[in-house]
Amino acid sequence: MQQQDLSFVRTELEPARPAPAGDRGFVRWLRVNLFATPLDSVLTVIGLLVVAFTIPPILRWAFIDAVWSGADRTVCATIAQGGIQPDGWSGACWAFVNAKFEQFMYGRYTYSERWRVNLTAIIFIGLLVPLLVPRVPHKFLNAVAFFIVFPIVAFILLVGGWFGLDYVATSLWGGMLVTMVLSFVGISVSLPLGILLALGRRSRLPVVKMLCVAFIETVRGVPLVTVLFMASVMLPLFLPAGMTFDRFLRALVGVALFASAYMAEVVRGGLQAIPKGQYEGADSLGLSYWQSMGLIVLPQALKLVIPGIVNTFIGLFKDTSLVYIIGMFDLLGIVRQNFADANWASAQTPMSGLIFAGFVFWIFCFGMSRYSIYMERRLDTGHRR
């Protein structure tokens, strides 16, 4: 008789075994993402080689072999170049950036008055951050403070001449200060101006339309350098004798007009995307032209083109570096100018200074583009199919 021996029969499920080694975890990830096909493998190897040949030297240069502090060029030069570093050394000269940092921020702004720049910066940040964070209330008041009150306060603080503040000539301004002022004014002028130009271009009045088209197309067809030249060399000729502009103001006008032409085209794209029904709806409600634009069309159009608007802002921010051509020193200009300082002239100085400037520009531009993506998602009211 056969005895039913149940002692070898499992009473519970065997625990699931992990997937084969080649099909799970990191290995699977590798296989899917890096070695899916032979071509993929080749590409991965090429990519690894690229990384291996770029990243370690960059890290070595920027961190391991870098010089972080020092009094003059000797810390950043090899013995053969008259310095203290061993021959064949190559590393970033952050000591240069460190020593010149104040200049990079303020330019030659009067030394004892720099607290005014700092105060302006604090007010700027204090007003900007709440404006950018959607949850903070009182947006309207905040915007009024930021775009109307702040410029006046900043003007008084930075230029001086009132309320016992010493006058600081704009020719002394430089560095980050110039970059920020140019960008802020450029941005806050070019958006309204661009909207007006875009509306003008779509206007039914032929004279207005022609003027706007001529302005937009001319400005967009020429490089900013020539516009700045025009502002610096030709504007004085256009004005009556003795009437002059501050050079800084001329740069501001040049940059703002240039950006507004690009802004106008971006806004026009938004206006064209608004269905005709919206215009007709506004008309049938008896709204005036400005009412229908301001209340119906523009809010929708601007929302559609936020990425374009921010791209124009980014472009403007980057373009401020060109004012160097008319004798003003923005961040890049002042970094550039300091390469000529004999105390710091070394083979590593230009690269270090440029990478510092590039990093600052990058932070701002990257921040702006990320914020625009965030806003775009937030404002997306789901019209997309």
Binding site: R73, A77, Q81, G82, E102, Q103, G107, R108, Y109, T110, Y111, A169, S171, L172, L193, L196, L211, C212, A214, F215, S232, V233, P236, L237, L239, P240, A241, G242, M243, T244, F245, D246, R247, L249, V253, L257, Y324, I325, I326, G327, R336, Q337, F339, A340, D341, A342, A345, S346, P350
Partner: protein, 342 residues
């Protein structure tokens, strides 16, 4: 467009009030309280700011001298840094009252650009500088055939360079830059073999290089470069003030009036000194210019005489150590010569 223009004009009128312009520069300067002086963006010894934004230098001291003559205070100067391109438009448009920026006096600038040169504060000539450790054996500009030469655009230098090489049947490779700093950086980096500009500029530049001893200025002078302050056409009074400020400084040196001895010189027995310093009873030595009669006293006590300014900024007391050379007084073998102040 309309909005733009009215906007521009409006803001200009609001923020930066227009000055009255031609014919009344002195009144403008007095009203403003400062002299707007166009200077170099940064040429060691001639006009350069330090890290705190305080300017100093030979050309800048001329601005201070003019301010002293007008206000009795050498600090009433607003330095407006200009590059080679925009210096002329800045003066033409009235952005600056006087251009004191090692500018060569030429016929075309005096006429077709509409300027008056108020004398020569530095007699200069164009030269070449090379790196003698990299290029041993080169001791004449005539050996530079085939060299890459750094030069700044928009200057008479650029034209002289072309003429000199063409005249000597040599060819060269121009490396042209817009700004002074770029040109220096390119020379320093070895982008070119030689650097050409006014010799004074070469000495100033040499000083700012990492290893000044490696660089030599070649002996050839290929051009005449009389450098001087310029003003706009159309305001003779202002032209006179700038001109005679320079002459007063030279005359003061000739008479031995210095910043240190100015007070005792006021009581001097020498009638010429008394006359210049406005110590005569019915003196009109300043009022004819629209200034106070002690304007020379103010200049000398504010900045010193020509020789003092020279030595302090670019001469033996400075790192540049430029010899007086042609800029010595006519009594000492140079050609600095001031018409009589009487």
């Amino acid at each position: 467009m309309k909005k733009l223009v009215t906007g521009i004009l409006g803001s200009a009128a609001l923020v930066f009030s227009a000055s009255a312009g031609w014919g009344a520069t002195l009144d403008d300067v007095k009203e403003r309280g400062t002299l707007r002086c166009g200077v170099h963006t940064g040429l060691a010894g001639f006009a350069a700011p330090n890290d705190q934004g305080e300017w100093s230098g030979f050309d800048y001291d001329l601005c201070r001298a003019i301010a002293s003559a007008i206000f009795g205070d050498p600090s009433k100067v607003e330095a407006v840094p200009t590059n080679a391109t925009e210096r002329f438009t800045a003066l033409q448009s009235g952005e600056i009252d006087v251009l004191s920026r090692n500018t060569t006096w030429t016929l075309s600038r005096d006429t077709s650009l509409g300027f008056n040169f108020a004398g020569v504060n530095y007699y200069d000539g164009q030269g070449f500088m090379i790196n003698s450790t990299k290029l041993p054996g080169i001791n004449s500009a005539l050996q530079l055939s085939g060299a890459a030469i750094c030069v700044q655009t928009g200057t008479t230098t650029e034209l002289n360079l072309a003429d000199y090489f063409a005249a000597n049947n040599m060819d060269y490779n121009p490396v042209v830059f817009q700004g002074f700093d770029e040109t220096n950086a390119a020379y320093e980096a070895g982008r070119c073999d030689a650097y050409t500009t006014d010799q004074s500029g070469l000495y100033a530049l040499r000083l700012t290089l990492a290893n000044p001893d490696e660089h030599v200025v070649l002996p050839e002078i290929i051009s005449k470069e009389p450098l001087g302050p310029a003003v706009r056409h159309g305001d003779d009074q202002w032209f006179d003030i700038v001109k005679w400020t320079l002459f007063a400084m030279i005359q003061a040196e000739e008479l031995g009036i210095t910043q240190a001895n100015i007070e005792e010189m006021k009581g001097s027995d020498n009638p010429e000194i008394r006359r210049i310093l406005g110590q005569e009873a019915d003196s009109s030595i300043g009022t004819v210019l629209g200034l106070e009669n002690d304007w020379v006293v103010k200049i000398v006590s504010g900045v010193g005489n020509y020789g003092e300014v020279f030595e302090r900024n670019i001469g033996q007391e400075s790192p540049l150590k430029i010899a007086r050379g042609l800029n010595q007084l006519w009594t000492k073998g140079g050609i600095q010569y001031a018409p009589p102040i009487r």
